[in-house]
Assembly symmetry: C2
Homo-oligomer: 188 residues x 2
DNA sequence: CCACATCTTGAACGATCGTTCCAGTACATT
DNA sequence: AATGTACTGGAACGATCGTTCAAGATGTGG
């Protein structure tokens, strides 16, 4: 029927992710996106509607990738507590690059319903994965029995954010690792 | 010599703080600032140079107020550990309003030297106050002796940021209090 | 091979951005 | 009172913002 798209949407979204990670939503211009994504301006608006549409697609893609990576690392070791440690270690290792989840939360709070819904979806998946790891770790005797699992999951996820925020503020890997050590101390 | 200023600089800066807390730097327009600060555009540029000058003044003012409040609460109880708890409780109580320190860190990272210097100054003061409280708490037997004080201070300050970030993402007071409980569990 | 749908590119839109120029006014000093 | 400085409010600047229009190029289905 018609001429097929010449660019790959996934590749373009991935490029948009990098732009938004570096500059946030307000700080990223349409021109930056066009340049980085390697597509024409018109193609961008035809495909995503507007700049906000590109942002939503980027945040969704980033969140899904991030949650999947967290979940994989959580279950990568025999002892669940070591899976949790592995998840944190990778956060520390990659903390020099800005997190799109953190920046979108700070930039928009709960003001944009479609963004909130996106956060809730990926957030729920992540909470589920973390709680599963915590339950297993408790069975394996690595976590105190009197702790509330919901609060603990929220605490671990909040710790991920705090690591990334500290890194954004200039903290080095050693300092970030110390944060991990102290957070995990709360578990037992 | 000359006609004196009709507006109060402190009042104007305080109004700018509110605008930047609500919208960030990029999201706040010069018009918003003029309206909220209640001064003419020309007076704004004469007094602060440009929009960035207003932002620096606002961040400095906010940071100083914040550090002073933290320090006062830290020393407000006989037991230092209870002073730490009081500091956290107040952070939880006021977490519904955005933190200018968090948003400026996320928005600019370490990219603006003058902003970094501002952060380092108020950050050093805060670290000193927290470490003093921690040292006292250890003397009073409320903190494990084997913990590194520098890391511990960084951990507590990172926890403040993570509470504010969680609140920005929609977490309620109960969830935030649970974060405080778990963070303080790491101390003993 | 023709016709059409969608591509790509580049110019152009109105709106808003941060900032500055311009008068006119009010206060403190000589 | 006269002088001069720095206030005030408003109009206007060029630049950039997100977005759209217009035209030519390209590949697919009838």
């Amino acid at each position: 029927m018609a001429r097929p798209r010449e660019f790959d949407i996934d590749t373009a979204v991935q490029a948009a992710v990098e732009v938004f990670r570096a500059h946030g939503f307000e700080g990223a211009s349409a021109q930056m996106l066009v340049d980085a994504m390697g597509i024409g301006r018109q193609s961008l608006y035809d495909t995503f509607g507007d700049k906000w549409g590109v942002y939503l697609a980027a945040v969704k893609r980033y969140s899904q990738d991030e949650v999947r990576t967290h979940a994989e690392l959580l279950t990568s070791r025999d002892r669940a507590i070591e899976g949790i440690r592995a998840m944190f270690d990778r956060v520390v290792a990659e903390a020099d690059r800005a997190c799109l989840g953190v920046s979108s939360t700070v930039e928009f709070g709960c003001g944009r319903p479609d963004l909130v819904k996106l956060r809730e979806e990926s957030g729920a998946t992540l909470v589920r994965a973390v709680k599963a790891a915590l339950a297993l770790a408790r069975e394996q005797g690595d976590i105190a029995a009197d702790l509330d699992m919901d609060s603990l999951a929220a605490f671990l996820i909040a710790t991920i954010a705090s690591i990334r925020l500290a890194a954004r503020g200039g903290a080095g890997p050693a300092q970030l690792s110390a944060l991990v050590d102290l957070a995990m101390r709360a578990l037992r």
